[in-house]
């Protein structure tokens, strides 16, 4: 690979190699306050490579590769190189992470209490996490929460926050002066912009926290909250985990402990301000 970038996000080290310089420069800029992989050794490698050699120049198309790949993945135009790199990093985590139980959830923390927010795409978990960061919470991650099987502690994975469409403006209003990556237009999920987590969230990314609440937010409804029983929570979280099956009994023990120890609530919300106020109620 001609161009290389290495970074540590929470406890995970990545090496991203690319046929092109532009995505690497963007990554290096956005992740400039993050440390390098521990001992210089990455856990996962991602490769962004040209589909055919001549496409590197003529009509750049980015293929995503790495330790693990999805066959027949469609290439992305070079203008979406940052998105390709982020997708590649997520893919390695989703397919290959074995040290932690991975939950597809955003996570925020204050006073040692972590709140996990999970739900379908569009539930608002990334937006909510970013808005709570604007209210002084630590952002532990917008995509994956890492549960350590031995302790049940939640580890941070504060990669760039992937915001879509209108949420970019909403979060930009709440976080004046925050750093964003370039617009990634016309992706399968609409227009995307990546937000750099604040300095406090990056500085504290090695510190785990104890889960205090599990929330299932749903956007577009009148405000409502409903307790989610451990059995239902267990089912929903097995579906929200990318590596539950791969972890075998460790995954089972980790997840049953989490749902028994941590109360879960479904919250419906009509707008971001209401949602933030509802999430704050779980701070105490």
């Amino acid at each position: 690979m001609n161009h290389v970038f290495a970074v540590r996000i929470g406890p995970v080290g990545f090496r991203v190699g690319s046929d092109w310089r532009a995505p690497i420069d963007t990554l290096a800029d956005l992740y400039r306050d993050y440390p390098a992989p521990e001992d210089g050794i990455p856990d996962f490698s991602v490769r962004l490579f040209a589909r055919r050699p001549w496409r590197r120049v003529l009509r750049p198309q980015v293929m995503i590769g790495g330790d693990y790949t999805i066959p027949d993945a469609a290439p992305l135009p070079l203008s979406l190189g940052l998105l390709a790199a982020e997708m590649g990093m997520n893919l390695q985590m989703a397919l290959a992470q074995r040290r932690y139980l991975l939950l597809h959830a955003s996570c925020i923390e204050r006073d040692g209490r972590a709140i996990l927010m999970t739900g379908e795409s569009g539930a608002g978990k990334s937006t909510l996490a970013a808005l709570m960061m604007a209210r002084g919470w630590r952002l532990m991650g917008d995509e994956f929460a890492l549960v350590e099987p031995e302790t049940g502690l939640i580890y941070s994975f504060p990669r760039l926050v992937s915001l879509k469409n209108q949420s970019v403006g909403v979060v930009g209003e709440a976080l004046r002066g925050a750093r964003f990556g370039p617009w990634q237009r016309d992706t399968p999920k609409g227009d995307i912009r990546h937000l750099v987590p604040d300095g406090a969230s990056i500085a504290a990314m090695a510190e785990p926290a104890r889960a205090a609440a599990i929330l299932f937010p749903a956007y577009g409804h009148a405000p409502d909250r409903r307790e989610v029983a451990p059995g239902e929570c267990f089912v929903r979280l097995t579906q929200a985990s990318t590596n539950y099956v791969a972890l075998g009994e460790r995954g089972f023990d980790t997840l049953t402990r989490l749902v028994r120890d941590v109360p879960a609530t479904a919250i419906d919300y009509p707008d971001a301000a209401t949602a933030c106020a509802m999430v704050e109620e779980f701070a105490a």
Partner: protein
Amino acid sequence: MPATRYRAAPAATLSIVSLDLMRAVYHRASGRTHLVSEPVPEILAALADEPLDEVALLDRLARDYAIEGDAAALGERLEELVATGLVEQL
């Protein structure tokens, strides 16, 4: 012809965790997780010590767990449990 008898998968191959009204069952032999509710945990417990046929199992569920049911419904549950590997048909 003697009636078909059933026995539960050996206790050492199961991890069972109570979650409110449900039980999460991890089956070590298959690596699969099952979320079950009454009467499945009771059936597994009743079949843990010795193999029983359907009639004896119905009696045992009524006696030990106050679970009343009919043979047809029990037959369906047993069929499902055999398919998952949690119960063995002898």
